[in-house]
C-alpha cells in the first residue's frame, strides 16, 4: 500500500516539476506567469490521462481500479443514505423472500430423494381411478411379476411402513417404533451404501421368516446406541423376535418417503412373523394374496431409458396381469410415476400451494428489482452533472460506466448478503413449526446449497437488470445540457418505463393482499364452522396389543377392561375407542356397495373413509346424530350388522331420502349386508382447510374387532392431567403393553391443522405488505422525481397566478392515475387467481375480501403521491426562479 502511494506521489511530483520548468521557460520567453502556466498545462495535456496511462503501464491496474471503483462507489452510496437504505432493503426483501419460499417449496415438494441420481428412480404400482389418496401400491405377487418382467428398470424394490414393538434388551420397557419392511434389493436399488456393515443379501429375503436381520437408520443408531460401532452383531428384540444388526444406513439417507423416517429396516420376508395375526385381509404380513396391496415400489431406470418408455412397459404388464388374474387385478391400472408426480398426486393442494407461493415470491423479487431500477434511474439527473464534469476533466466513458456498474454491484452485494441472512432467519423462524406426534415425521426446513444458489442468482440477476440501464444512460449524458443544469432544458417526457413499473408493483401488491385476505376469510369461516367434533378437553392415546402378541379375544378383553377402568377415574366424563383419529393420516378405507345403486362402467364399489367406534364415540367427541340412532351396546358381534353414515355419504348414495333402514354390502360385491341405523353430522377428516364434504362410514367396534385402537377420553378438566393416571392403569393391566401417541386433541388440532394454515396466510400477507411497501416507495419516488424535474415550471405557474390547490391537483393527477390503474389491474389479476385459489382454500366472502383490500390500497397510494405533491404546492416561486 505504501509503495503504491509513494509511486503515485512521485508521479505527481514529477509532473508538477515538469510544469514548473516549462512555466519558467515560458516566463523567460516573455509570457506573464499566469499565461506561462496556462500554456504549460495546455502543452502537457490532460494530467488525469497521464496518470491513468502511467498507471496502465505499471500494471496490476485492474486491482487498483477495482479498489478505487469500490471506494468511490461506497462513497457515492453513503452520500445518499436514504436511497441506499431503500435500495438495499428492497433488494434484501426480494432475495430473502425468494430464498425462504424456495426452502419451503424444497421441503414441501421439490427436495430430491437422498440417493445417487434421484431422477432415475420412479414409483411403480397399481391404482384405481378415483382413489383417494392417489398413490401407487402393489401386492407381493404383483411385485414379483413386475420385477421379473420389466426390462426398463435395472432394479425394482418394495417397502412398507409398519409399527413394531421394540425392546433394547429383553425385559426393558417396550417402545413403539416405526420400521420399514423392505425387499432384499432395497439398498442396492437405491444405491445407498451403508455407513457400517452391509445392506441385505439376496438370500436373506428368500424364505419367509427365516432371516431375522435388521439395518438401523442413522438417527436411530445415534439415539439408541450413541453411534457405537460395536453395534454390529448385536441382538434387538422386535415384536418379541430377536433380530441381528447387520448394518447402519448412512446419515444422508433419511428415507425414501417424503415425510416419514423409519427407525430401522427389516427384510420383507420377515413381515409374516412380525405381524402374525393382523386380522383383515390385505394386511402387511400377507405375502401371498395378489390383492394385498401394501407395498410401495421404487425402481431405478436403466441408463438411456426414458420415463415414457418405462410407463408404457409398466402399463402393458399391468394389462397382461389383469388378463391373467381378473378377480384381483381387473379394475386396476399399473403405471410409473416420477417422484415429483408421486408427491403432487398424493397431496395436490400442497403442490398448488407451492406453485402459488413460488410465483408470489418471484413477483416480490421482480417488484424489488423494479423498485431499485426506478430508484437508480431517478438518480440519473442528479448525477448527470457529476458525470459531465468528470467527462470534461478527461475521464473515459468506459471508466464511468464501470464505476457505475461497480456501484450497482456493491448495492447488489449488500442487498444479496442481507437477503440471504433474511432468508436464513425466516427459515429458522418457520422451522419452529412442529408436528405433535410420536411418528418420526421430519419437517426440517433447511437452507441447502441450492437455495443459496437461487438467492445469489437472484442478486446477480438484479445487478444486471438494474445496474446496466442507468449506467449506460448516465454515460451517454450530453455534456452541454447537463452542465447547464437547467430543469427547463431537461426533457420532462413521460417516463413510460417507470410508469409501467409503478403500475405493475401496485398491481402485484394488491394481488398479494387480496389473496391473503381471501384466504384468511375462507380460513376463518372454516375454523368457525368447526371440524364437526369436539377438540377441547379430549385426550387420545393409541394402543396395539398385537405388538405383545395378544390374540383377538385377549385384545377385546384388554380394551373392555381398559375402557371400564378409565371411565371410573376421577375427572373423566366419557371414554370411547375408535380406530381413526381425524386429521391424522392413518385412515381406513372400506369398499361398499349400496343396495340398488348403479355404479358407472368399470367401477363396482365405492371406497369410503371409515372408522370403527364404540357406542360412546358420538357422545365423547360430540358428533351429532341427525337421523336415526347412535350405536348401542347391543350392536355386538351376535347382533345384525349395522353402520352409521355421515350426511355427505348419505347425500351421495341415498339422495333425497333417509338412508336409515337401507342396506349396503361391506367390502365389495360379495360382502355381507349391513343396515344403516343412523346419520351423523359431517366433519373434517383428513385436513381442516380445503376439504370438501367427504363421505364417512362408522362401524361398531364390537362387530369389527381390531388390534390398533385409539382411546379417546373426554375430561372435565385439563386432559393432559389424565395421562399419568391412565398410564398407571395400563401398567397395572399389563406392564408390557406399550402406550403411544399420547396427545391432547387441542394441541394436535392447533399445531397440525390450525397453525399450518395460519402460518401460510400470515406469510402471504407479509409478502403482500412488503410488496405494498415496495410499490409505495416506487410511487413516491416517481412523483418526487416528476416534481423536482418540473420545479421551474411550477415556480413559473405560481408566479403567474396558479393557486396551491391547482398545483396540487396537477402534480397529484399523474400519481393517482398510476395508483388507480395499478389497483384496477391488480383486481383483474386476482380474479384470475381465484380459480387457482379455490382448490387450495375455498374462498369465503370474496366481496368482503376486495372490500377490505382495495380501499386501503387506494388510500395508501394516494398518500404516497400526496406527500411530494404537497411539497410541490408549497414551492416558493421567488426562490425557485432566482436560481435561474
Amino acid at each position: 500500500m505504501r509503495f503504491w502511494q509513494r509511486r503515485e506521489q512521485r508521479l505527481s511530483d514529477e509532473i508538477e516539476e515538469h510544469l514548473v520548468l516549462e512555466t519558467a521557460e515560458n516566463v523567460a520567453a516573455g509570457m506573464s506567469p499566469e499565461d506561462a502556466r496556462a500554456a504549460a498545462l495546455r502543452k502537457l495535456g490532460s494530467v488525469l490521462r497521464i496518470k491513468e496511462d502511467t498507471r496502465a503501464v505499471w500494471g496490476w491496474t485492474w486491482i487498483e481500479r477495482l479498489r478505487q471503483d469500490l471506494r468511490y462507489g461506497a462513497r457515492a452510496l453513503a452520500r445518499d443514505p436514504g436511497f441506499t437504505f431503500v435500495a438495499v432493503v428492497s433488494l434484501a426483501v426480494g432475495v430473502g423472500v425468494t430464498c425462504a419460499m424456495f426452502s419451503v417449496a424444497d421441503l414441501a415438494l421439490l427436495r430430491p430423494l437422498p440417493v445417487p441420481r434421484p431422477d432415475e428412480v420412479l414409483t411403480v404400482g397399481s391404482s384405481r381411478t378415483g382413489d383417494t389418496p392417489d398413490i401407487l401400491q402393489a401386492s407381493y405377487p404383483d411385485y414379483r411379476d413386475l420385477r421379473d418382467r420389466l426390462r426398463s428398470f435395472q432394479a425394482l424394490a418394495g417397502y412398507a411402513f409398519t409399527r413394531v414393538r421394540f425392546e433394547k434388551q429383553p425385559g426393558a420397557p417396550p417402545e413403539v417404533k416405526t420400521a420399514m419392511t423392505v425387499t432384499g434389493n432395497f439398498f442396492r436399488t437405491l444405491e445407498v451404501e451403508p455407513e457400517l456393515g452391509r445392506g441385505f443379501l439376496p438370500e436373506e429375503d428368500g424364505v419367509p421368516g427365516r432371516n431375522a436381520v435388521v439395518v438401523l437408520s442413522h438417527s436411530f443408531w445415534r439415539q439408541e446406541f450413541d453411534a457405537d460401532s460395536s453395534v454390529l452383531g448385536r441382538q434387538l428384540r422386535i415384536n418379541g423376535i430377536d433380530f441381528t444388526v447387520v448394518g447402519v444406513a448412512p446419515e444422508q439417507f433419511t428415507s425414501v418417503d417424503q415425510w416419514m423416517h423409519p427407525a430401522f429396516y427389516v427384510p420383507a420376508m420377515m413381515s409374516p412373523r412380525l405381524n402374525p395375526d393382523r386380522g383383515s385381509a390385505g394386511a402387511i404380513g400377507d405375502l401371498e394374496s395378489r390383492d394385498a396391496r401394501f407395498l410401495t415400489l421404487k425402481g431405478r431406470l436403466k441408463p438411456g431409458v426414458s420415463v415414457e418408455q418405462a410407463r408404457a412397459e409398466v402399463a402393458a404388464i399391468g394389462t397382461a396381469l389383469a388378463r391373467s388374474y381378473p378377480e384381483t387385478n381387473r379394475h386396476f391400472t399399473m403405471s410409473a410415476r416420477t417422484e415429483l408426480e408421486t408427491r403432487t398426486r398424493l397431496t395436490p393442494n400442497i403442490a398448488v400451494t407451492v406453485a402459488m407461493v413460488l410465483v408470489l415470491a418471484a413477483a416480490i423479487l421482480m417488484a424489488a428489482c423494479a423498485n431499485v431500477a426506478g430508484l437508480l434511474t431517478s438518480r440519473v439527473p442528479a448525477r448527470a452533472r457529476e458525470m459531465a464534469v468528470r467527462l470534461a476533466l478527461g475521464a473515459r466513458r468506459m471508466r464511468l460506466v464501470r464505476q457505475l456498474i461497480t456501484e450497482s454491484a456493491l448495492l447488489a452485494a449488500a442487498g444479496g448478503v442481507l437477503g440471504v441472512a433474511l432468508g436464513y432467519a425466516s427459515v429458522a423462524f418457520l422451522d419452529r413449526f412442529t408436528y405433535v406426534s410420536d411418528l418420526p415425521v421430519m419437517i426440517s426446513l433447511r437452507m441447502d446449497e441450492r437455495v443459496l444458489l437461487v438467492g445469489l442468482a437472484a442478486a446477480v440477476a438484479s445487478v444486471f437488470l438494474f445496474g446496466l440501464v442507468p449506467a449506460f444512460r448516465s454515460a451517454r449524458a450530453d455534456l452541454v445540457t447537463d452542465l447547464k443544469n437547467t430543469s427547463a432544458t431537461r426533457n420532462v417526457r413521460r417516463l413510460w418505463g417507470r410508469d409501467i413499473l409503478v403500475i405493475g408493483q401496485v398491481a402485484i401488491a394488491l394481488l398479494l393482499l387480496t389473496v391473503a385476505s381471501l384466504m384468511h376469510l375462507g380460513f376463518r369461516e372454516q375454523l368457525r364452522a368447526g371440524p364437526g367434533y369436539r377438540t377441547d378437553h379430549v385426550l387420545t392415546m393409541e394402543f396395539d396389543p398385537s405388538l405383545v402378541r395378544y390374540t383377538s379375544a385377549r385384545t377385546a378383553q384388554f380394551y373392555r377392561d381398559l375402557r371400564d377402568r378409565v371411565r371410573e377415574l376421577p375427572g373423566v366424563r366419557s371414554v370411547t375407542l375408535a380406530s381413526f383419529l381425524p386429521l391424522t393420516q392413518e385412515f381406513q378405507i372400506n369398499p361398499i356397495v349400496p343396495e340398488g345403486y348403479q355404479f358407472p362402467e368399470g367401477v363396482d364399489s365405492a371406497r369410503v373413509l371409515s372408522s370403527r367406534v364404540d357406542e360412546h364415540y358420538f357422545d365423547t367427541l360430540a358428533v351429532p346424530i341427525v337421523e336415526g340412532r347412535p350405536f348401542r351396546a347391543t350392536d355386538d358381534a351376535d347382533a345384525p350388522r349395522v353402520a352409521i353414515v355421515n350426511q355427505a355419504l348419505a347425500a351421495q348414495y341415498w339422495p333425497g331420502r333417509s338412508p336409515v333402514g337401507h342396506r349396503f354390502r361391506l367390502d365389495g360385491t360379495g360382502g355381507p349386508w349391513v343396515e344403516i341405523v343412523g346419520v351423523a353430522g359431517n366433519g373434517k377428516y383428513l385436513q381442516l382447510v380445503g376439504e370438501t364434504p367427504t363421505g364417512f362410514l362408522y362401524l361398531p367396534y364390537a362387530q369389527h374387532l381390531r388390534s390398533e385402537m385409539i382411546l379417546m377420553v373426554h375430561s372435565a378438566g385439563d386432559p393432559a392431567g389424565l395421562t399419568a393416571p391412565i398410564r398407571d392403569l395400563v401398567r397395572r393391566l399389563d406392564p408390557e403393553q406399550p402406550v403411544f401417541e399420547v396427545r391432547t386433541m387441542e394441541a394436535f388440532f392447533q399445531q397440525g391443522a390450525v397453525r399450518s394454515a395460519q402460518l401460510l396466510i400470515q406469510f402471504i400477507a407479509a409478502m403482500g405488505v412488503m410488496g405494498m411497501v415496495l410499490a409505495l416507495s416506487g410511487l413516491y419516488g416517481l412523483v418526487a422525481y416528476a416534481v423536482s424535474a418540473r420545479t421551474r415550471e411550477i415556480g413559473i405557474r405560481m408566479a403567474i397566478g396558479a393557486r396551491q390547490g391547482q398545483v396540487l391537483r396537477m402534480v397529484l393527477r399523474r400519481g393517482l392515475v398510476l395508483g388507480a390503474s395499478g389497483v384496477a389491474i391488480g383486481v383483474v389479476l386476482s380474479a384470475g387467481m381465484r380459480q387457482v385459489l379455490e382448490s387450495a382454500v375455498p374462498a369465503g366472502g370474496a366481496v368482503t375480501g376486495y372490500a377490505l383490500v382495495v380501499p386501503v390500497v387506494l388510500a395508501v397510494t394516494m398518500l404516497a403521491a400526496l406527500i411530494p405533491a404537497l411539497r410541490a404546492s408549497r414551492i416558493d416561486p421567488a426562490i425557485v426562479l432566482r436560481y435561474e
Binding site: 511530483d13 514529477e14 515538469h18 520548468l21 516549462e22 502537457l44 495535456g45 497521464i50
Partner: protein
C-alpha cells in the same frame, strides 16, 4: 527510440527530454509532453531505462532517467533497423542510392 537516443549522452529528467526531442527535430516533432511520462515509465518497466531521484537545476526534487546496458543495445538495434528502412525506401524514391545519414 527517440527517448533512448536522447539519453545516450547522459541521464536527464522528463522536461529536458521533451525539450531535447523538440529541439533536435527542429520543432518538427511537437510532442505532447503528457505522453512522455507513460512512455518513460514503460521503458523503465521494460528494463531499458533506470530511474532515480536527484536534484534539478533549480535545486528541486526531480527524477532522472538513464540508459541501461540493455537500453543501449536496444538503441543500436532500433537504429540499424531504421537505417535499413530508410535506405530501402530511399532506394526506391531516389534510384541513385544515397548514404543514409544519421
Amino acid at each position: 527510440m527517440l527517448i533512448l537516443r536522447t539519453l545516450l549522452f547522459g541521464p536527464a529528467h522528463g522536461h529536458t527530454i521533451a525539450r531535447a526531442i523538440e529541439r533536435g527535430s527542429e520543432d518538427v516533432l511537437q510532442v505532447e509532453h503528457g505522453s512522455l511520462y507513460p512512455a518513460l515509465h514503460r521503458l523503465v518497466k521494460q528494463g531499458l531505462l533506470s530511474a532515480r531521484d536527484g536534484l534539478s537545476e533549480n535545486n528541486r526534487q526531480a527524477r532522472y532517467y538513464s540508459l541501461t546496458a540493455k537500453g543501449r543495445r536496444r538503441l543500436h538495434e532500433e537504429t540499424s533497423k531504421w537505417d535499413r528502412l530508410t535506405r530501402a525506401i530511399g532506394g526506391i524514391l531516389r534510384p541513385a542510392a544515397e548514404e543514409g545519414k544519421l
